[in-house]
């Protein structure tokens, strides 16, 4: 049963939303008009670093706070646009002095430190490619991604380097330089100190001409059958970030904005770095992990006006069972958005009741580079729906049988695969080194997202689930194949089948079913050993949280483990079509 519509009275809002009439704006919108919002001249082209930082530093916003960084230990540091310009110029000069140039992939593997944000902008300035990895990855996911992405340099910290990277160096011959953010001095010609390098670098850097189609960012996303894919994005994606920043996140010049996503995932770059700075607004970054009281204090003390967060965090706040408006002064907060997985209707309504603000769910993925479907500040919400297609975006529900090649548009209200019509500016330009895989993700003009949904008669989209076996845990995608491959490296494991087990807080948790090789017997001791093995190899973000031994994993006649069946059994659901099951 669907919840009631949440109606809006935008005329009474403290700030008039940038989008007041959805239909009118949608019909009038043209991408060419967005070009006028950027400064990039023909000689310079279009560079993310210039449009996010330098142009503000060169103008009236120079002394405005660009970044407010809140350290896990209570420290606070602030950086103006002018300071960000200087520091990122230094880092671009560092990269240049190390021989890194256009198109070279510079990986980062750190928690949310200010140096990361400086490095990110410096990488764009140098026209190198930013490849941010989540710091909670273990050595296996790090190695896979750095190999596939042809990593030439890595920015990380001493502890992470020692724990997760040093042992991989022999397998990464292309990796020329490692820059350690917290090292006091260089260890060798290869392992350098961030501060020593920065101290020698000039704070002036002229950005070379940048083609809007030059590669800017490489994010990895999980596949269902193979190893992770390197999703290629280009500088021109900022058209999307600017537009969605204006019309969805509703950025106005005086806003204080907090996106809680980690830059290891695409939300943390598109909306944790690029969108707020394109609009010249103050961006809050918290180094610490989720903590309910800390988060309310940040909203209060930093006077956050726009907050972009995730369902996992919202569900944790709901668990607190307190009245935030009685305990905290959240008067400045005017807009709350959520992304990562579908936001349940109860959470949207909780926002209305406890924050005095509904929570605006939206939908997009690594490949789309920016928000594609959203609830808008001025528009009514149907709790549980991800909202309507963005301006300049055409989303549809299609049915595409990949085996027979039959493609048709779904009727209103009918379930199908969510597809986006080719041509939006932040569309991914490829899977790195995997052209076939890229081609397969399109049917003619349509990018096929792999998400199942339907569209109602009002044009609102409703998420149903994935069309494949990819696991969504705490808003992150985990590929079962990557987990299974690693578990099978353990001497006791014969076969592994990995699924997402539904969980009320994090959406799904990674659960592995394991059959053991002859000579090994299931035991509590072995289960613990395998849990530890997974954590050490894959890292906490990817490793299975649960392991169950099963002597025979269900397989197709061709020998493929039927994850779907494992999941149905786990959930106590009907087993569905098992005609291909091996008996």
């Amino acid at each position: 049963m669907k919840a009631q519509w949440i109606k809006k009275e935008p005329k009474n809002f403290s700030v008039r939303p940038n989008l007041m009439d959805y239909e009118k704006e949608y019909n009038a919108f043209q991408w060419e008009d967005v070009a006028l919002e950027f400064q990039g001249s023909p000689s310079m082209g279009l560079n993310i670093a210039h449009e996010t930082i330098d142009r503000h530093a060169n103008g009236p916003l120079a002394q405005k706070t660009a970044l407010v960084w809140l350290g896990a230990d209570g420290k606070k540091r602030e950086f103006t646009f002018a300071k960000m310009k200087q520091e990122s110029a230094r880092f671009a000069n560092v990269l240049q002095s190390l021989g890194l140039t256009k198109g070279d992939r510079v990986f980062t593997l750190t928690t949310r430190l200010p140096e990361f944000y400086i490095a990110a902008i410096g990488i764009f300035k140098n026209r190198s490619v930013l490849c941010p990895l989540f710091a909670q990855f273990g050595p296996e996911p790090i190695l896979q991604r750095m190999k596939k992405g042809d990593a030439k340099a890595l920015v990380t910290t001493k502890v992470i380097f020692e724990k997760k990277v040093r042992s991989l160096l022999d397998e990464l011959p292309q990796l020329q330089t490692i820059i350690l953010i917290d090292a006091i001095e260089d260890e060798s010609d290869k392992i350098r100190s961030f501060n020593s390098l920065m101290a020698l670098a000039s704070d002036i850097y002229e950005i070379a001409p940048t083609d809007p189609e030059d590669m800017s960012l490489l994010h990895f996303t999980s596949g269902t059958t193979g190893m992770p894919k390197g999703v290629v994005h280009v500088h021109k994606a900022i058209y999307m970030h600017w537009m969605s920043g204006k019309y969805v996140l509703d950025m106005h010049p005086d806003d204080i904005y907090w996106c809680t996503a980690d830059p290891g995932w695409v939300t943390g770059t598109s909306y944790g770095i690029i969108a707020p700075w394109l609009h010249g607004i103050t961006n809050i970054v918290d180094e610490a992990e989720f903590d309910a009281r800390r988060w309310y204090e940040i909203l209060q003390n930093e006077k956050v006006t726009i907050w972009y967060t995730a369902p996992t965090a919202i569900r944790r706040l709901i668990r607190m069972e307190l009245d935030p408006l009685k305990e905290y002064d959240l008067a400045n907060l005017r807009l709350v958005h959520s992304v990562g997985e579908p936001l349940n209707p109860e959470a949207v309504i909780w926002g209305v009741e406890k924050l005095g603000l509904p929570i605006h769910d939206n939908w997009w993925q690594t490949e789309t580079g920016g928000i594609m479907v959203a609830n808008f500040a001025s528009q009514p919400i149907q709790p549980g729906s991800m909202g309507r297609q963005l301006l300049g975006v055409e989303a549809a529900i299609v049915n595409y049988d990949r085996d027979s090649g039959v493609f048709e548009m779904a009727k209103t209200g009918d379930k199908g695969e969510l597809a986006i019509k080719r041509g939006w500016p932040s569309m991914f330009r490829g899977y790195l080194h995997e052209d076939e895989r890229y081609k397969k993700s399109f049917y003619n003009e349509w990018y096929l997202t792999g998400d199942l949904a339907y569209k109602d008669k009002y044009g609102y989209f409703w998420f149903i689930g994935r069309s494949d076996d990819i696991i969504k845990t705490s808003g992150h995608m985990v590929g079962p194949f990557e987990v299974e491959s690693t578990l099978m490296e353990h001497p006791s494991v014969a076969e592994a089948g990995v699924i997402g087990k539904p969980d009320p807080v994090v959406g799904e948790v990674v659960k592995a079913f394991i059959s053991l090789k002859t000579g090994f017997i299931p035991s509590e001791e072995l289960r613990r050993e395998l849990i530890g093995f997974g954590r050490q190899k894959l890292g906490v973000a990817v490793a299975p949280k649960e392991i169950e031994f099963q002597s025979n994993l269900p397989k197709t006649r061709s020998g493929k483990i039927m994850r779907r069946l494992l999941k149905a059994r786990e959930m106590g659901l009907p087993e569905g079509d098992i005609s291909t099951l091996e008996h």
Binding site: A72, R316, R319, S474, I531, R535
Partner: protein, 80 residues
């Protein structure tokens, strides 16, 4: 329950979630999540298990007060 007993129960629960850790590597004053690669979901699982073992539930709002092993022991002692 003595503080020492509580400490042992907490360590046992941490090792249940992260069995690869050596007991001796648990620094009683280090941030549990950051130093031991315990994510916030794992932390939730540890506290849920401890509420069963010790009989004291730590409300979500107090999670900031139990960030290190020593702080966690203090919290349980204070609330027992």
């Amino acid at each position: 329950m003595t503080a020492e007993e509580i400490k042992q129960i907490i360590i046992t629960q941490i090792l249940e979630i992260a069995p690869e850790i050596n007991e001796g590597d648990v620094d009683p004053d280090a941030h549990i999540q950051r130093s031991l690669e315990i994510d916030s979901f794992d932390f939730l699982r540890i506290l849920t298990a401890l509420s069963k073992e010790i009989g004291i539930a730590v409300p979500e709002a107090d999670y900031g007060q139990v960030d290190t092993l020593n702080h966690m022991v203090d919290y349980f002692v204070k609330h027992s």
